[in-house]
Symmetry: C2
Amino acid sequence: MSLRHGLIGLLAREGPQTGYQLARAFDRSVNFVWHARHGQIYPELARLAEAGLIRHVEDGPRGAKVYEVTDAGIAELRRWILDVPVAVGTRNETLLRVFFGYLVEPAELEAFLLSEAARYRGLLGVLEGFAAGDATSPSERASELTVHAGIRMLNAQIDWAEWAANEVRTWPPAQAVSSGDRAGRARRRARRPRG
Amino acid sequence: MSLRHGLIGLLAREGPQTGYQLARAFDRSVNFVWHARHGQIYPELARLAEAGLIRHVEDGPRGAKVYEVTDAGIAELRRWILDVPVAVGTRNETLLRVFFGYLVEPAELEAFLLSEAARYRGLLGVLEGFAAGDATSPSERASELTVHAGIRMLNAQIDWAEWAANEVRTWPPAQAVSSGDRAGRARRRARRPRG
DNA sequence: AATTGCATGTAAATTGTTACATGATTTT
DNA sequence: AAAATCATGTAACAATTTACATGCAATT
């Protein structure tokens, strides 16, 4: 699970903090890289403290619990960054929909692709705001690298979505597909080798 | 959950199939878009059949259960593609590591970035193999769109990783960071405005 | 005084992974 | 005969989301 390393890392990066602050940090800086809700964060902090990777140090204003990272936590973070194989397994809901997009009218799929392009543009605007900074400290330099990655990937996605919308415009109308259309499928399959 | 729509979609796309075949399909065609193990697929098929979105039709050779999609399933799939807001929430473990990459030696981070670039190149090779097809049928045209998306995103990631590796080469050695270094952090923070 | 924001937690449900368990059929 | 592949399932665990529940502090 990357969440625990995200929490250790944020404590290392931004100093002692409460779970609430970490939850907000997940909504800001690292949100486009990883995200988590407080319902997951609070129990995980307790487990990390139990494991000695972070430490509950003091109490803030209104029952706030401040945590800080331990040396063991930083060592674990370094180990994770370099020595643990990166978990594979892409999950892209937009692409899954497009994969089945031949089932809807081309005009509808085109509209979907353009709406996705617009959504990506919105995200790109946010990231470009992040990139405007100066990046003087080591942690800011590292953050800048991830922002650049996001910008490049979003640009690739925007270009693709607009190209794909254009492609779809040339498609013939969708055939009626129903679960009872086994005969139709068999007909098409048989015809293919001849073409 | 997109898994259930992935299952309905594959049954719609490739005709009646067993859970085993669907599990293999998730390892092949849609793997770079979505993935699932049989431990999740079999129970989900039972639930989908219960909900009337797919139907258990016949029994194959050795206790194999063949499912086919129903009209209700296709209607649900169409609804999901167009009318359900795309779930947000990126999760990119590579970027999370790079975000905290200032904690390891620049040479180590550089090596990590180059190893990621190599991994991306491997995936790109697989996708380019998929793209070599002709794409005559509607479903093949749709699949081709997703393959193109994958190729563009992987190229963006390769370019980024190699650019970032180059950036990191110019970084000064990592400072020793430890949990006890609160004074060091405060010192750096106080110094910044003057610079 | 009421609203907003800070702050923590847990319970329940869902989603996903891993490991265990079983047996049939085909290939070597 | 043994090994590989086909085929299904469940149990246990891990990860994640959503909703519920509470209370303090600052602002309007």
